[in-house]
Each structure stands twice: as structure tokens, then as C-alpha cells.
Symmetry: C2
């Protein structure tokens, strides 16, 4: 199987199954059916089986899945066997909100270090994460073996930072800057784009004929 051919929506559903399995695991549930997994994320049992079959054979026909085993398998598929080492570039409003977002650590992402251009922030810790000047970027990304950089800079400097990050051997970027990035094909890039999500919502509202009436 070619993992690079797995669709983005399949990977999204794997994340949702994983969240559900972690909750079940916390609640002491030992076995789960594809019907229950499907219900928990709003899809069909056939889709659950199809998604999982991309990655091997899980569970036994008529007996469901062992929660702990499936959880561990999906963590392995998603590359979350150990915490991912993350750095933040740009400790402004969105950046510092992320530093305080505890759910990241529970879900396997540890923000080790942050960078900013504002000298007033240097040497301070925001939610226990040290904020360093930008001229230490390359050295620290490499010394801390950072795997993923969250880019929360103004769009105007995003490309320059992305270039420096790529040169430092980081494997992926999650960008909050809506601007396009020209990056190496080996670098994985994802965007958090509020306007894109709002456009998706706007489509759903239109498609459902569910417009709010104008007065």
C-alpha cells in the first residue's frame, strides 16, 4: 500500500477515531464495533472498515475491535508513538493562545520552544515555553531536533521564515499565515485558514437552502 495515496479525509477520520478510542479507553471500554465507531464520528460502519483496511487487518469479524489495540495501531499510523517535537514561530495573539492550549500535549505534540521578533518577549516563558530571538532559529531548531514548526507570523514574513525552517531540516509546517508558501516537495505543509473554513460553511448553508432571511 502506498501511504502517500491515502486521502486527507481518511486521515481526518483516523484522527476522529483516535479521539473516540482514547475517550473509550479512559472510560474503561474494552471492545468497540465499527457501528459504534461510525456513530461516534457521524459516518457509516462500511466507511470505518474501508478506512482501516487501508492499513491492514484489525479486529475480528463479528467481534469488533479491541479498543487498546486499535488505539495503538492508529497512533502508530499517524506517527504518534512518541510526542512530536514542535516549535512555534511568532508569539503574538494566536501564537500565545496556542502555547496555552493543553490539548496539544495530550494529543501528542510538545511545543518545546518559541521564537519572536519582539525583544520584550525574550527570556520570558509563556506557559512554560521559552521565547527566543529569531537569530537563534536555525541553531535551536536543529539542536532541539524540531520536527514540526507552527508558523504564526504575519503573512509578509511567512515565506522567509519557511525558507529558514526548511533549511534547518524540519519535516513539516503548520501555517496560520494565509499566504501561499513555496516549499520543498519533501516538506509537509498544512494550513489553518479561517476564511477557507468559513467558505466551506457558507457553501453548506447555501446547499441546505438554510439562508437567514434578509429583513
Amino acid at each position: 500500500m502506498n501511504l502517500r495515496k491515502i486521502s486527507e479525509s481518511t486521515v481526518r477520520r483516523l484522527s476522529l477515531y483516535l479521539n473516540l478510542l482514547r475517550d473509550m479507553s479512559d472510560a474503561g471500554t474494552e471492545v468497540v464495533s465499527s457501528v459504534d465507531l461510525a456513530g461516534g464520528i457521524g459516518t457509516t460502519a462500511a466507511q470505518v472498515r474501508k478506512d482501516l483496511s487501508n492499513f491492514g487487518s484489525f479486529g475480528k469479524r463479528g467481534q469488533g475491535y479491541v479498543v487498546e489495540d486499535l488505539r495503538a495501531s492508529i497512533e502508530s499510523i499517524l506517527g504518534l508513538v512518541r510526542p512530536r517535537r514542535v516549535a512555534l514561530v511568532g508569539a503574538g495573539k494566536i501564537g500565545s493562545a496556542l502555547l496555552g492550549y493543553r490539548d496539544l500535549r495530550t494529543r501528542g505534540f510538545e511545543i518545546i520552544v518559541a521564537f519572536d521578533i519582539d525583544p520584550e518577549k525574550y527570556g520570558r516563558k509563556v506557559f512554560d515555553v521559552p521565547v527566543l530571538p529569531m537569530d537563534q532559529l536555525e541553531q535551536r531548531l536543529s539542536a532541539d531536533r524540531i520536527e514540526i514548526v507552527i508558523l504564526a507570523t504575519p503573512p509578509a514574513v511567512a515565506q522567509e521564515v519557511a525558507n529558514r525552517v526548511t533549511a534547518s531540516g524540519v519535516a513539516g509546517i503548520l501555517s496560520f499565515a494565509a499566504s501561499k508558501l513555496e516549499t520543498d516537495a519533501t516538506l509537509a505543509v498544512r494550513w489553518m485558514d479561517v476564511a477557507l473554513e468559513l467558505e466551506g460553511l457558507s457553501f453548506l448553508i447555501s446547499a441546505a437552502g438554510n439562508e437567514v432571511e434578509e429583513s
Copy 2:
């Protein structure tokens, strides 16, 4: 055609085509081929034609698409013929960063009003948007004919706010709170989930065998 059957990834690509067409329109480009549209967002010309064919017949064989016409058509498909009226609930770090995000307005979303529980914020305007107390929520959502609510509250209160928003006739919610929401099936809901995007990145890094080596 059943618009509700259009996949989320098709809608995402429509957004990306739209961004590209707006740039082309600003640059004075009059006609564009499916090959150029495909190249601009990293997909294939066949995919562009397939995506658009869901919504009708655009362009002429061998002559490409008229930029202005296709832009207007996609705006119409996405329900963006006029600006969408948006309210923000929760004017904390992420919330106020959104109020300052100019790209939202250019892309057709106008944040009309914000709500917060902090009395120190009442009566103030953040980036020209008035911040009001939560007890005015229902009345203002209705009076301002708000279509979409951006939920940037702590997860613990997200469900309660979602219930109040739904009862006020809003058509869609974009939630920054990772917690699940039980909502009416008629309400369109999308999530901004940083951890979900990071999990997607982690998968891509694993699948590409592009791990940063441990020391």
C-alpha cells in the same frame, strides 16, 4: 444535482480556485485554462474539470474559462454573492486576533458584533467591532440577522453557547473549541482544530519516511 453530496475536499478546492481567480482578476488576466487553474493549487486539469462539472457547464472546450465569469460563478456556488454576516463569541486571544484579521472581509465575511463574559471589554470596540455582554446574545444575533457564529469560548461553555446560538436562528457555527457539539442537524458546523491538522502533518511525515532523526 444534490449539492449536499459534494465532498468537503471539492468545496476546499473551490475556495482555492476562487482565491486564484480573484488574484488573476486583480492582475487583469481575462482567460484561464484548467491546466493553469490546476497548477495554481497543485491538482490536475482533469480534477478541475470534474470539480466544476458538479455545478454546471463552464468555459468552452479549447478556450478556457473567462476569469470574471468563473469567479462570479464560484462565489455564487459558495454562497458569497453578498458578505456573510458573522458574530464572534469569546473575545479572548484567538477571538481578538480574528477581529484584526482583514482577510476575512476581503473574502466575504463581515464580523458585525462580538460577545464576551468580561465586563472590562463591554462597550469597547476591538478593530471596530463592538464587544457586548453575553446576555444580549440572542437579541443581537436576531436583530443583526447573523448567519454564522465563530465560537472562540473555552470548551467547557461551548455547548451551552451553541444551544443559545442555534435557538437564535443562526445557520452555521465555526468552532475553535475542540469539544464535540451536539447540534441540530439543520445547523452547519465546522471546526478549527489545531491538533487535528498537526495529526494530519504527523501522518504525512511518517508516510513520507521523513522523520527527523533522534540523537
